[in-house]
């Protein structure tokens, strides 16, 4: 019952701008949404804390500009945090704040512990390299120097995400959006990461392809028991995937709980609005 979380995030803050006398104090700051009118500083993430447990899918919902993607970028080290702590509970990383680690250690975490699927495949894939090459890139980064092994692993992964093998040497730029997204998922899974980030993975895909990708993610989660953080503004996606859900508004967590609970019986005014505006 008292499981230890695999990822702990404490007081994550991310601001764009230096801040001024009026907005530096967390308790008394007056912001228009997340924006300080007197100095133009934007508080994208304010005091975000949560735990991610092994094998769990954590959903994060919120409107555009609520800080979902910024939070993901901070966790994946794509951008630096302003302040805050995060801990990964694996034997060699336990007890150390990952935000304060050296660039090499961060790269180690990205290569061995994390997998990331971006909303836009252009960010996660090298569009002018073959699909096999894209997957191999992550394997090479993790120290693999055997072409035969890497090719075999890549083939298996691409098969798992239903990419026809006769197209595996093609560049992802020739693929449809849904296929690109699936190559990205295969790449993210190549090193069996314990933690997988999914940033709006189905946004922009048509409904049947969306169902396909979601099915795939669900299957992966069931078979491999990977912990996932799923960011989406689509409540249907969250309902289908997430065990627990966090609602973000203006960079703050306003509600969290079991997905069913949050969606069936929303407490916060904004969540109520969000749930009932579902068509």
């Amino acid at each position: 019952m008292y499981e230890e979380p695999i990822l702990q995030v404490r007081n994550l803050q991310k601001q764009f701008g230096t801040g001024c006398i009026e907005c530096r104090q967390k308790e008394t700051r007056k912001l228009v949404k997340n924006f300080c009118k007197s100095c133009g500083t934007l508080y994208a993430c304010q005091d975000i804390s949560f735990d991610l447990y092994p094998g769990e899918v954590l959903g994060i919902v919120g409107e555009s500009g609520s800080g979902k993607s910024t939070m993901m970028q901070c966790l994946y080290f794509d951008s630096d945090v302003s302040s805050g702590e995060a801990y990964i509970h694996t034997p060699d990383l336990a007890g150390k704040n990952i935000f304060e680690m050296s660039a090499q250690q961060k790269r180690f975490i990205r290569n061995y512990v994390y997998g990331m699927v971006y909303q836009n495949p252009v960010q996660g894939l090298k569009m002018n390299f073959s699909s096999v090459g894209n997957i191999a890139e992550k394997l090479i980064a993790a120290g693999n120097k055997h072409v035969g092994q890497m090719e075999a692993t890549s083939k298996k992964l691409l098969e798992n995400v239903h990419i026809p093998l006769h197209r595996m040497k093609e560049e992802p730029r020739n693929f449809s959006g849904g296929m690109q997204q699936r190559v990205q998922i295969a790449k993210a899974l190549s090193n069996n990461p314990p933690i997988l980030f999914l940033d709006e993975v189905t946004t922009g895909l048509d409904l049947s392809v969306q169902a396909n990708v979601l099915d795939l993610i669900k299957g992966i989660q069931r078979d491999l028991g990977i912990s996932m953080i799923v960011v989406s503004h689509d409540l249907a996606v969250i309902r289908m995937l997430a065990d627990r859900t966090i609602v973000l508004l203006n960079g703050k967590i306003i509600e969290e709980g079991l997905t069913d609970q949050v969606l069936e019986d929303p407490q916060h005014e904004y969540t109520q609005q969000l749930v009932y505006s579902l068509l």
Binding site: A103, Q104, R107, V132, E137, K145, H146, V147, K169
Partner: protein
């Protein structure tokens, strides 16, 4: 127009700056040291990096050889030789053994270099990671973090496409187990000559404003996967049609008269040497 220039064309301040960059490059094998590439009387991309190194380290007692793709007589080599000779008055040679300083475009001579020699290579593209990453800031970070997956990925892609690594020249190397370096577009055949070289190897990229070096007796290893070992161009059963040499880098030519494919030494001074030796031997024989 003929003006009386300073010794070796450059003012002493410029030489000092370039020498500082060279010393740093020697101290960190394979690391690309930025330097203020000067405006030269030849266009960038025509060997200005090599020329700037040559001019800033040359002394009055040096003997200079300049090669362009293995040839001593090509226009580029001759022009560079003329410029250096006009501004320094140093002796010029075509014999690899006689030279104390060799500036070369895309070849390392067939004759093994000695500890008393320095070879300067002209580099068009010093960054081995550029094809995977366009940003200089990012490639610098990748070097700093020893993140060379991009360089490996390029080789992997070639194996996927062609079944083997397809770098004709400029096959990336690991220098001193630390930095991945572009060895300038020398053929793979010459990569082994970088390893534990007795001569100091300096590389200059004028357009890209970088100097780097392989100091004598440094480990230089060509990048290769476990199951796809590094191979050089093979010239099995082939020999130079002029001097009959084997085990050298050969150019493939087509005889305009017969339409036949013939091979010829790429290193012209080496070829000439072999011919001279043969003539001498025959003269010796007929004398007896």
């Amino acid at each position: 127009m003929k003006t009386d220039t300073h010794f070796a064309f450059f003012d002493e301040g410029s030489k000092k700056e370039i020498r500082r960059a060279i010393i740093k490059a020697v101290a960190i094998p394979g690391y690309q040291v930025p330097f203020a590439s000067r405006e030269m009387p030849i266009a960038r991309g025509w060997g200005t990096g090599g020329l700037q190194i040559t001019l800033s380290i040359i002394g009055k007692s040096d003997v200079l050889k300049v090669i362009d793709q293995g040839a001593d007589e090509s226009v580029n080599a001759v022009s560079i030789k003329k410029l250096v000779h006009d501004t320094t008055g140093v002796e010029l040679t075509e014999q690899t053994e006689e030279a104390s300083l060799i500036q070369s475009r895309h070849r390392i001579p067939e004759v093994a270099l000695t500890k008393d020699q320095i070879i300067v290579l002209q580099v068009p593209m010093p960054e081995p990671l550029r094809p995977v990453e366009a940003s200089e800031l990012k490639t610098k970070t990748m070097h700093a973090e020893n993140d060379y997956s991009g360089a490996w990925l390029m080789l992997f892609e070639q194996i996927m496409k062609y079944g083997k690594t397809a770098t004709a020249a400029d096959h990336p190397v690991y220098v001193n187990d630390r930095y991945v370096m572009a060895p300038s577009p020398i053929p793979r055949f010459d990569n082994s000559k970088l390893h534990e070289s007795e001569a100091l190897i300096l590389l200059g990229a004028g357009r890209e404003k970088k100097i780097y070096a392989v100091p004598p007796y440094t480990n230089v290893e060509s990048l290769a996967f476990d199951d796809y070992p590094f191979t050089v161009e093979a010239f099995e059963d082939k020999h130079c049609h002029i001097c009959n040499s084997t085990d050298v880098f050969l150019d493939e030519l087509i005889d305009p008269q017969t339409g036949e494919t013939i091979h010829q030494c790429n290193d012209t001074s080496f070829c000439m040497d072999q011919l001279n030796k043969k003539v001498e031997e025959e003269a010796q024989k007929s004398y007896v």
